[in-house]
């Protein structure tokens, strides 16, 4: 009998993931043993510490370029860049998640199992501090995303997909207010998410049938050399893409996005909009650039159509929205389209500009959702557009910050929105994708209108009778907002350092 060889594992290269998963497990232990009252500071501290430690681990690894764990995990430039981005965005998201000064007990329900509308529910809504399970869940999600962008074979990628998705489904259901909406969102996300996972899994099976392997180098080698029929490759790739495009919120797999973004607690929405997008596109980039680059002539037009459809759907439907969270959801769909434009450049520039875009968009969207948490009335957040009339006069500072973020989304220069759009469009044009750039520019024109409408509401409309108040944010939210707005400004003014970093990191190992 042959000895079973253990694969060599480079623990240092895996440190960011190990730290996060370890801290998440520790967080569950905290839930089990620490009295309820003391959990919040411990969990928050643990979460922040774990993220910082993982960030340090990423920085220490900065020059690592290896494939480890028996070929299951690739730690290379894009992996480290994206892991670092997810961690940085995760820190900001955690600050919003941890905020408790805006309403009693924070934005999360104390006990998710309590029946909505019952007497205990009213009691907990009024007084009890929110569930602290959110923190380990969030660490698991971030850890899963780290693994997702590092996965070097399809099975690892699938495991990572589930690891980061399941906690997200749960987190969506934990809103303190409007719980039915929140639970509906979670259920919708869960059902559609598992459906897309099934597609992903089936795609893996077909590709295994074609290539006989599931690692990307193997698929790359097998593409067009294998003696199987190409239909297996195309079919498998199509199913795989559906799974990934679902997470990335690209049309026509986007339908969950507005409902889930609206129903989920706002800090979680921000977390999804920023970090899930990074993870999904990180994985998509690896699949396309490493595994299937030889088939790029075949899938580029198809994905190009998806990109255009995504931009169109996002931009056109954003125009009709009256709820700010839904508006931002459609805007995030359109942004997925712009990202696809960068991805489809299929070049080093395409890779680096997409990564730059992910970071720039992540900070801006986090700041946007952060501001949404502040505008409140007696029923919680006031997200209806009409309720924001005249907000600029009541709290000019926050209205100015939100206006700035909206201008960034609209792609006005001196914001990160402009530099990032320039980056992906330039890369795509260099890659010969003129039609995508034209579509991107045209949809940007459409998309400017809904943003502008919000600006008009805030500054030019007269305040209504019951304008909601803008709560004074606590230290956590203030810090998060400052980081988000400052990053949006800095990446617009001096994008060179991050552009350099992303372009240095833009090389996959195979």
């Amino acid at each position: 009998m042959e000895d079973l060889q253990l694969p060599h594992i480079d623990y240092a290269a895996l440190a960011p993931m190990l730290i996060l998963f370890g801290a998440a497990c520790a967080g569950i232990l905290v839930e089990a043993v620490v009295p309820r009252g003391r959990r919040y500071p411990i969990q928050l501290g643990l979460g922040l510490a774990a993220l910082v430690a993982a960030g340090v681990a990423v920085i220490v690894q900065a020059s690592t370029r290896i494939i480890t764990a028996g070929g299951a995990i690739a730690v290379d430039g894009p992996t480290l860049f994206l892991q670092g981005s997810i961690i940085a965005l995760g820190v900001v998201a955690l600050l919003f998640v941890g905020e408790r000064s805006l309403e009693t007990g924070g934005p999360f329900v104390a006990q998710a199992a309590v029946v909505v509308g019952s007497e205990p529910d009213r009691l907990q809504a009024a007084r009890r501090p929110g569930a602290t399970e959110v923190y380990p869940l969030m660490l698991f999600a971030i850890g899963g995303m780290q693994l997702f962008v590092a996965a070097n074979d399809l099975l690892t990628m699938f495991v990572a997909l589930e690891v980061f998705s399941l906690p997200l489904y749960l987190m969506c259901a934990l809103a303190r207010r409007r719980r039915l909406l929140s639970q509906e969102a979670a259920l919708k996300y869960f059902l559609l998410g598992s459906y897309s996972s099934a597609f992903f899994l089936f795609g893996i099976a077909l590709i295994y049938g074609y290539a006989g392997r599931v690692d990307f180098a193997g698929i790359h080698d097998a593409a067009f050399n294998a003696d199987r029929h190409d239909a297996l490759l195309y079919g498998g790739f199509a199913l795989l893409s559906i799974g990934l495009l679902f997470k990335a919120a690209a049309a026509p797999f986007h339908v969950w996005t507005p409902d889930v973004y609206q129903g989920a607690p706002t800090p979680v929405t921000g977390f999804m909009a920023a970090c899930t997008k990074v993870a999904a596109f990180g994985a998509l980039l690896r699949v396309l650039y490493v595994g299937f680059d030889r088939a790029s002539w075949d899938y580029r037009p198809v994905l190009g159509v998806v990109a255009i459809l995504t931009m169109l759907v996002g931009a056109v439907l954003a125009v009709t929205q009256t709820d700010l969270k839904r508006l931002l959801a459609y805007s995030s769909i359109a942004n997925a389209g712009y990202l696809l434009v960068g991805v489809l450049a299929m070049s080093k520039d395409g890779l680096s500009s997409s990564m730059f875009y992910l970071v720039a968009y992540g900070f801006a969207v986090l700041a946007a959702f952060g501001i949404l948490t502040l505008v409140r009335d007696a029923d919680g957040e006031a997200n209806h557009l009409a309720r924001w009339a005249g907000l600029g006069r009541r709290s000019p500072l926050f209205a100015a910050a939100f206006t700035f973020i909206l201008l960034a989304f609209a792609g006005i220069p001196l914001t990160s929105g402009f530099t990032s759009k320039f980056a992906v469009f330039a890369a795509a044009l260099d890659g010969g994708q003129t039609w995508l750039v034209v579509a991107g520019v045209v949809t940007s024109m459409v998309l400017a209108f809904p943003y502008l409408r919000v600006v008009v509401m805030m500054w030019l409309s007269e305040p209504a009778e019951s304008t909601p108040t803008v709560s004074i944010p606590g230290a956590l939210t203030s810090t998060g907002l400052t980081i988000g707005v400052a990053a949006t400004l800095l990446l617009g003014l001096v994008p060179a350092p991050l552009l350099d970093l992303s372009s240095k990191a833009a090389e996959f190992v195979r």
Binding site: R393, G411, I412, F418, F422, A426, L429, A448, W459, A496
Partner: protein
Amino acid sequence: MSDASFPFLSVLTAAPLVGALLVAFLPRSQPELAKRVALVWSLAVLVLGIVAWIAFNPGGERFQFRESYDWIPAWGVNFTFAADGIALVMLLLIAVLVPLVILASWHDADTGKRSVPAYFALILALEGTMLGVFAAADVFLFYVFFEVMLVPMYFLIGSYGGHQRQYAAVKFFLYSLVGGLFMLAAVIGLWAVGGHTLDWQALTGADIDTGTARWLFLGFFVAFAIKAPFFPFHTWLPDAGGAAPAGAAALLVGVLDKVGTFGILRYCLPLFPEASHYFAPLALTLAVIGVIYAALLAVGQNDLKRLVSYTSIAHFGFIGVGIFAFTTQAGTGAVLYMVNHGLATGLLFLVVGMLVARRGSALVSDFGGAGKLVPVLAGVFLIAGLASLALPGTAPFVSEFLVLIGAFTVNKPVAVIATAGIILAAGYVLWMVQRTTQGALNPALSKVDAMKKDLSVREAVVVAPLIALILLLGFYPKPVTDVVNPAVQATLTDIGAQDPAPTTASGENP
């Protein structure tokens, strides 16, 4: 690399922006202080502008005051400023107009509920971005200022404007943004085919294939034609000009719109010489239609501000004719027209603003015989009107004459049709003056107390320099033509156009 010891252009651009920040943070409770600071600041900028004018050597290099700093090396984008004669006269025009506008708008923001310091901060911010747009010598930098310029103007119209200000502000912003995005696509295209640089000087030598160059030309041209505005992209201007406060309208029509014609001269012609020739008949046609059509619409207006806006569209038609005739005379005339129109229409808008502020209405039918109540103001109004219709002896006459004879040598039909515009101009201006200030006194007018106050000292200080400049340049335009002429000749050399010898002038297109 810099041939001036003092970085005029970057200081000119930065100074008003710093001033805007300073004024914005002055307390709302001290409006007088904000006004004074803004006025002094803009006067300091004027002094700097005059020093730059003196330091500029008309017979020297085409581009002077060149400064260049690294910005985004990854894209080959630099902070490059440089001014030729055309840019220089526009810079000085801005520097002259802004202090006068500030002085003229002294009480504009007093009555509303809006912040007074913010109003003057916005004017200074607008000045900074407008100066930047003319000083930029890098296409990317130009685009940045081109877009950012919209933001202060949007708030000036939207927050401080009159009737229908929201509608006008949104229309203005969307129109400009649409144009800007067309230009963005062209800028990115230029970057991709021009060797990954956006430095103006490097791009003029770039070898771009004919088909691509034509598309890129169109991208730039549409943006500039919307900005200028040329028929049929003009519909936003009457709304914006009608709704904007008089001072902002003077800047909007007097300077901001010149960015369009300046952009055509600086970017469309030298970068795409072949395409410029190819599209010149189209551009000439649009320009001539604009001259006649806008003049006819102006005759029918009952709102003074809208009327003046339409006259401007007609004048922009003349400038377009001058640019696309491709002769030195016509080109010099067009640039001179840009300056003179800024002075004449600026004056006209400011005087209309004074009338409207007294009457509380901009409708011609609400006036009638106003000259009997405010004789001096009515006299100034007449002078402004006469300057606007290009009466010999006023500055616009020189430029209009140059444009027409320059165009006549190469394209008789265009010149002849455009000449009809002069007659219409006499019609709409004189009829406007007659209906407002001459004839029997409108009884409703004498009931308005404010109409009994004639030109105040402040207002006299506003109009006197403008009238002096209009007369001076009407009789002695040499200081401006000396500076402009070499730049126009260089531009025409760029596109390979030669002045026809007078004896061989023909009516065919070159």
